[in-house]
């Protein structure tokens, strides 16, 4: 009994000693150590600043001076005093290459970092190794307003004021907010978010990013898995995979896209889409070239719509002048008004509905297999209707046809029809079909 009590006491004592030792070991440098520095470098107003930053926040101000000022702040937690001093010293000495027209600053002062439990073992670029609990660095830059600013940044937040020069960004996992920026800026980024102001011409090469921008001119975008929202873009050329676009005002677009959605506004000039499983909604087009599978196009007004190939697509168009579709399969096409012409030389199992053929309508032609066509002609539109079809149905307003219609069924259930609503009818509605339900009202 007594022996047991002794053992218990010894165990308690040993535990206490271990705990005290642990606390003692961790008591070195538990207070945060803060340090700052500030340096200035010369750079011509039309020079280039290349700035490399890793896992540290950055704020960029713009001024008229032909100088770059760099200020840094670091907070170090834990570790021996001499390790902290070595770390801070390395932090205060970024790698700099300075020439009149080129300034290259690399703020990453370590070669590698190994994390084991609460300790970081850091190999500094000067060859020394230090151990601290953690450190947090941040930087502020002042840069001339017209230079080229090349930024390589990872895992941080960046803020940049209005800037008249050129951006050249290479970003990984950065949340970046900029004001206005200069012509021909380049944004190369992955897993980042951008809030940008007004710019001119720009190019984006992005991967899983969120971009919100104001007004831009000619823009080139290569993108995957991203969301892009712009107020106004003059013209845009897009290669896209699984993206969402929202451009409120656009005057021209050329896009190749897969699994993407486009929400567009504005009156566009000559535009084109090559799509797979993508949706395009909104806007008006002067001329539009379109080729797509498993996609949807919704537009208010299109002057000339030229579809090369449509496969299992849905079209909802308020108004079109000329609708030309070279190949259509399994599509659903709804047109509010077709003002001039519809030509569909190769159609398979497509449903076509046209709500209004006005007096200006001049020609409907096509070769249809299966599917259905429904046309509503204005009372003032006089037309000549001629068709050859096998099986299917032909529904027309008999009371409008003053000429005696010619209809006969030959062998193999062919229907051949030719007649007109008036002798001088200029509009020609003519087609061949197999098992098509054709209705004209």
């Amino acid at each position: 009994m007594k022996a047991m009590k002794n053992v218990k006491s010894i165990c308690k004592l040993l535990l206490l000693i271990v705990l005290l030792s642990y606390c003692a070991a961790n008591s070195f440098g538990q207070d945060d150590k803060e340090s700052h520095f500030e340096t200035t470098y010369k750079l011509n107003h039309d020079g280039k600043l290349a700035f490399n930053i890793y896992d540290s926040d950055l704020k960029v101000n713009v001024w008229k001076n032909n100088e770059v000022k760099l200020a840094g702040e670091i907070i170090v937690t834990g570790g021996k005093t001499e390790d902290r001093e070595l770390l801070i010293a390395a932090f205060k000495e970024p790698e700099v290459k300075s020439e009149p027209n080129l300034l290259d600053i690399n703020t990453q002062f370590w070669k590698n970092m190994i994390s084991i439990g609460p300790f970081n073992r850091i190999s500094l670029k000067n060859g020394k190794k230090v151990s601290v609990n953690k450190f947090k660095a941040s930087y502020t830059l002042w840069i001339p307003e017209n230079i080229e600013f090349e930024l390589k940044s990872k895992y941080n937040d960046v803020e940049i004021a209005d800037f008249a020069g050129i951006f050249n960004f290479n970003l990984y996992d950065v949340d970046i907010t900029t004001g206005d920026f200069g012509n021909n800026s380049i944004f190369n980024a992955k897993y980042s978010s951008f809030i940008v102001g007004n710019g001119s011409n720009a190019s984006f090469d992005i991967y899983d990013c969120k971009v919100t921008g104001e007004n831009l001119a000619d823009v080139r975008i290569i993108t995957k898995y991203s969301t892009l929202v712009f107020s106004t873009v003059k013209s845009v050329k897009i290669e896209s995979y699984d993206d969402d676009f929202d451009i409120k005002n656009l005057t021209g677009i050329e896009a190749t896209a897969k699994y993407s959605t486009f929400l567009l506004g504005g009156e566009m000039g000559n535009s084109g889409f090559d799509l797979y499983d993508s949706d395009v909604k909104g806007g008006s087009y002067k001329t539009l070239s379109f080729s797509a599978k498993y996609s949807e196009l919704v537009a208010d007004k299109i002057g000339d719509l030229n579809i090369d190939v449509a496969y299992d697509c849905t079209f909802k168009i308020g108004y079109v002048d000329n609708f030309i579709c070279n190949e259509s399969k399994y599509d659903e096409i709804y047109i509010g008004t077709a003002a001039k012409k519809i030509a569909m030389p190769d159609v398979y199992d497509t449903q076509l509905n046209v709500d209004n053929l006005p007096n200006t309508f001049s020609s409907f032609s096509g070769d249809f297999k299966y599917g259905s066509v429904t046309l509503k002609a204005e009372p003032g539109l006089n037309y000549k209707l001629s068709c050859q079809q096998t099986y299917g149905s032909l529904d027309y307003p008999r009371e409008r046809f003053t000429n005696k219609p010619l209809l006969y069924i030959e062998k193999n259930s062919k229907i051949e029809f030719e007649s007109s609503t008036a002798p001088d009818a200029n509009c020609e509605i003519s087609f061949t079909a197999y098992d098509l339900n054709f209705t004209i009202k």
């Binding site: 299917g392 149905s393 219609p405």
Partner: protein
Amino acid sequence: METVTIDINNILVEKACQGDQKAMFRLYRMYLPAMYNTCIRMVVNKNDAEDIIQESFISAFSGIEGFRGEASFGTWLKRIVINNSINHIRNKKIKFVDMDTIQIDDTDSEDDDLPDIPMEVIHNSIKSLPDKARVVLNLYLLEGYLHREIALILGISESTSRSQYIRAKKLLKEILIREYDHIKGESC
């Protein structure tokens, strides 16, 4: 030679049981067209059909651990869709009245012979049938239920189910013949 397609389904169902949303989506895409059309032929209204389909898939995916695999996943899902459709119709208080007193002639006639009519026309014609006739026709002719099963589900007698079906068939033929008359071409 029989084409075996259940392997992919089983893999997808297994993954869906584990909460794999991609597998659920693939199952959804595979079965949606058939389920939706079954439902809309029963309830007609597009919004109602969409609600029912959503409820049915949610029930199926939520309770997929309980799917024992005795029938195929599609069969199990179809039962959920039909049950939900019928519940919806019941909630609209459509009474399936016994029709024992109404005599409906079901002798075969030349009217049974119909020309080849597009399936879209048949589908829409079925939708245009009166409620009770439509439900019974869907369950018997399209979903393979027996009249005694329909009677149990709808709370009517077996003979009423038969009568409703005969009536549905006659009405459907009339509608289809009217459609056909469009291309017959009465003389101007």
